[in-house]
């Protein structure tokens, strides 16, 4: 399959590979996909009190497009507020990496991973608020 230069660059030099402490209060974790489908993405965010994503990390089991999509996603959401990051669309990722049609689902997975990580963070924050009140 012919891939774009940007995609190959992200695949060969992925940004933000790694893990954050999933038990930390300020960390949200999204784990999406399924091994049986051939791709699993774990995307994590560390969020400041101001709601800005200070750090983002990922680990992905998947093809080159899946790895590049998650790398790009972490790069884009860093420095954004969680509300801004929640608005990120898969089509923006697909366009940036020129994903071929059969690989669009990789960008969908990346969008899902971001949303899932943000939701996890919000849930934690709500639980914490409930405990403190």
């Amino acid at each position: 399959m012919a891939y774009s230069e940007k995609l190959i660059e992200h695949y060969e030099n992925p940004r933000n590979v790694g893990s954050l402490d999933k038990d930390a209060d300020d960390v949200g974790t999204g784990l999406v996909g399924a091994p049986a489908c051939g791709d699993v993405m774990r995307l994590q965010i560390r969020v400041g009190d101001d709601g800005v994503i200070q750090d983002a990390k990922f680990k992905t089991f998947g093809c080159g497009s899946a790895i590049a999509s998650s790398s790009l996603a972490t790069e884009w959401i860093k420095g954004k507020t969680i509300d801004e990051a929640y608005e990120l669309k898969n089509s923006q990722i697909a366009e940036e990496l020129s994903l071929p049609p059969v690989k669009i689902h990789c960008s969908v997975l990346a969008e899902d991973a971001i949303k899932s990580a943000i939701e996890d963070f919000k849930r934690k924050r709500a639980e914490k608020a409930a405990l403190e009140s």
């Binding site: 695949y11 590979v17 784990l31 996909g33 399924a34 051939g38 699993v40 680990k59 992905t60 089991f61």
Partner: protein, 407 residues
Amino acid sequence: MALKFPIYMDYHATTPLDVRVFEAMKPYFLETFGNAASRTHQFGWTAEAAVEDARETIARFIGASSGKEIVFTSGATESDNLAIKGVAEYYASKGNHIVTTTIEHKAVLDSCKRLQKQGFEVTYVSAGPDGLVNPDDIRAALTDKTILVSVMLANNEVGTIQPIQEIGKITRERGVLLHCDAVQGLGKTPFDVQAMNVDLASITAHKLYGPKGCGALYVRRSKPRVRLVAELDGGGHERGMRSGTLNVPGIVGFAKACSILMEEGAAEAERIRGLRDRLHQRLTAELDEVVLNGHPTLRLPGNLNLSFSFVEGEGLMMAIKDVAVSSGSACTSASLEPSYVLRSMGLDEELAHSSIRFGLGRFNTEEEVDYVAALVAEKVKKLRDMSPLYEMHKEGVDLKSIEWAAH
């Protein structure tokens, strides 16, 4: 010797032409270019003589009793189609049942599916987890309506060599015809249509260092005499079984490729087996959680099909782009389904996604094997460092206990 890139390790897909084959073919393009069916002049006679000579060589190579049993085709797909549909149509009054296996090539499976639409019944026998078909399962599938059994000599993905001789005993005893898709196994593992009681066999040149676009169907002429209905209408070539001008250079090359294997095949198989085992040993010495797909010993000498757990096959192939291999991963297919062969053997889908098929052959060297082993080990480690599944596995999480959201 310096390595040349890219390195080819996909000999199951196709093989390069052996230069000796190329030399044998050359005059039949340029000087002796005649149509083998031209009966009125020297050009035709020369071409015909070359074809008849080739027929005898190929017949000898597969243990056929006469060159008259060789029907030239455009390749294995056509041979499989002709064998299955041609026999089904001819013997339809005798029965409407065909037995085959779930791990056959698509040319066999899809021919059977088309026949099902026309009212034939087909039983698909499963292979075991090692890719081996149990002859007893074939026996159990036979009914008094069965006219044909079709089982491959060796599987193209996992290289498992099937017990054709045992299956041949059963089909002969029951008076059922046996077709064998011998494409992958021929020249790499013993194949003899007499000893194995094979009645029809599909073979092709380009898997044997011969040219693409040239195949043959062996059709037994006695005990029993096999009949079939031709797929193509036309000039009635190949004793009416396959019309169309013969591909003379291709046929000459096919025969040359067979005669090289008759001379060198056994020694070559041992050399390639040694390279394959070296590759396997080096990879498993460097990496944990590597699963061998297929049978540990009953496999083609050049075949190594491995699943590198927690790493996706296409992702890995992208990391080793200087090495030509193939994968059972969904991402390599248009259907987004992982290999039907691996799945029908009962392999977890996750492992099917992680599979890589190394196919070694005549022109691979020890240097190439060592380079590929080191490269693959390095890249698998890198991708595992990036894999959430490997991290979870290392933390002792049972991946099967997680409720994944299938998408």
